[in-house]
Symmetry: C2
């Protein structure tokens, strides 16, 4: 039951697209991630995902639209929905999703992270 | 899959201690709440709770310590742990917890909210 200060956690994250576990509750993980550039198109079969922008902005692309998100904005991507985050500049994002959610969902490539850091 | 802008949601919340559902995912609710004053001591039998401060600051009191939280800080209160949020000034807080979590946990009093607003 200690305070988790997001700014100090993000200051320790130096890689992009590398979700880092900050907390676990009710079988869910809270993760911090820095995005920059284009991620891979993917979906999650059984997991909904929440993205909350802490600093900066990015675009969540769907097959039929794109949503621009800035600090203080969040979005829920329901299971089964293809999406791709794209960040023109570095952005700090908090993720809330079930423990065990794979970052690239149904896709496996060089961006897949099977093991996550914890801070 | 629409953007949820926290500032515009909090601007529509005028009562203190009245958690308002902003989103649901994986059986969990994301709630926005404004705190001011002292809440009631309580615990949740089966639910862990995450508190993330969006604006302002408050103190999470436990029976053996207190934790001061400011904007950008979060804390997880595990199930079974007695706690009481106290805010000297109004604070905006985001909550992540299982759908159906009762705000006053094991206690029932005039602060209990059986029905929550949605925004």
């Amino acid at each position: 039951m200690n305070k988790i200060t997001l700014a100090s956690k993000f200051a320790q994250i130096h890689k992009h697209w590398s979700p880092t576990i900050l907390a676990e509750l009710n079988g869910q993980h809270v993760k911090a991630s820095k995005f920059k550039g284009e991620f891979v198109w993917h979906h999650h079969e059984n997991e909904d995902e929440l993205f909350l922008v802490i600093k900066g902005s990015f675009r969540m692309e769907f097959r039929d639209k794109a949503v621009e998100l800035s600090a203080g904005d969040m979005i829920v991507v329901p299971r089964g929905v293809e999406h791709r985050p794209v960040a023109d500049e570095e952005v700090e994002v908090l993720l809330f999703e079930p423990a065990g959610t794979l970052n690239t969902g149904n896709v496996r490539n060089e961006m897949t992270k099977d093991t996550l850091d914890r801070l």
